[in-house]
Amino acid sequence: MIKANGLVSITDCEKEDILRILDLAEQFEKNPNPHLLDGKLVATLFFEPSTRTRLSFETAVQRLGGRVIGFSDAATSSSSKGETLHDTIKMVSNYVDLIVMRHPVEGAARYASEVAGVPVINAGDGANQHPTQTMLDLYSIKKTQGRLNDLTISMVGDLKYGRTVHSLLMAMRYFNPTYNFIAPPELRIPEQYRIFCDDNHIKYHEDTDLNSVLKTSDILYMTRVQQERFTDPVEYEKVRNTYTLRNSMLDGTKDNLRILHPLPRITEIATDVDSNPKAYYFEQARNGVFARQAVICSILGLV
């Protein structure tokens, strides 16, 4: 359950939590500026830079009438002077009603939520969790498909390290999905997630060929394939080309197909896809503000 001490991991969310957040997000989309956070102060502590995520959170807060303090990278924070995370969190929780934090170290947000006197929202802890990203992905799926149940979701690209993929995969377990995992052998979905699917009776299919799943998919969830995952640059170039979605490939796909991507994209979606009505990644980012408003107000008990 989403606890009063914040939202650290999507694995803490039960089905009811997810549905409630998505309903609230829908209300915030209809009316994004209710003054629910009047007089409230939120800290955005970004121990590593992520302008996209920080702006999304700060927009969510300010549109609700709240105010923001914080820092945008570790160089301007006291941690650069060697202060422990414990001490920084203790200090900041004296000042604010809620902490939003991003940290390169995995488990940092869980730890912060245990020492802070105020709720903590995890805005990314290394390769581990980024639960509001998952909420906005779920919201985007529900909004574009009209439902969450019984969808065929194809996840493409870096399925080994892609935390957004892992979180979405786990969060969708309540909704009877069918997954296609499309990745080069080097970036195959890890065994623990295949076991997770088996344990939860989720149907899945693994392939290296993106074209093989395009016509049957409801959602195409594209991810970035990063060069640093490859020791051989030639192999990287090959993979990068194979996993690039081009507009021509969308001929004959389902009308309801929507293409999602956590952004920023590099080359995995060609720019000629952008004008296709099935491209949804920019609206997806906009949904992040509503999903975050929903999470913030829910945790603070304001809705």
């Binding site: 422990t84 414990h86 170290v105 488990g107 940092a108 869980r110 730890y111 290394g126 390769a127 623990q192």
Partner: protein, 153 residues
């Protein structure tokens, strides 16, 4: 009936604890992690003994020693198949079945170098995720590990 070699070792102990059915390759790891080399009491260690179940097994018997719960947890993590016999006056008075703890505080180290517990002064905590497969999950970084990968401090 002729008593077997291992039974003789067990019976030779007057009061104390016998750890039997230790996989041979785990024996010295257990000695080191439970700091049995620091004990003052009489201790007998046998290894590479014949075992129908394990092929080769180890046995440790320690005079005048009863393991604490935390030590038993460490044992369960290192050698879940081991059997603990408490001996009083040459008789086995209690057999303890090792079972994996639901939650393990401090004694495991996270294998993930990017975990907060390896970066800052934060004590570790693991939760048992799957008893059958022996899989634990780090409470902080959420990395899962099975018994073959865990690092006991």
């Amino acid at each position: 009936m002729k008593a077997s070699h291992t039974e003789l070792i067990v019976r030779a102990l007057k009061n104390g604890t016998v750890i039997d059915h230790i996989p041979a390759d785990k024996l010295f790891k257990i000695v080191s992690i439970l700091e049995l080399d620091q004990l003052e009491q009489q201790i007998t260690i046998g290894n590479n003994l014949e075992s129908k179940k394990l092929g080769k097994k180890g046995v440790i018997k320690i005079a005048d020693k009863v393991f604490k719960a935390e030590e038993l947890n460490k044992l369960a993590l290192l050698a879940p198949s081991a059997r603990i016999n408490i001996v009083e006056n040459y008789e086995v008075v209690e057999k303890i079945d090792l079972s994996l703890p639901e939650s393990v505080h401090e004694i495991l180290q996270c294998v993930n170098p990017m975990c907060i517990t390896n970066k800052q002064p934060v004590s570790t905590r693991f939760d048992l995720l799957d008893r059958k497969r022996g899989i634990f999950k780090c409470h902080y970084c959420e990395r899962t590990v099975d018994l073959s990968e865990i690092v006991v401090k």
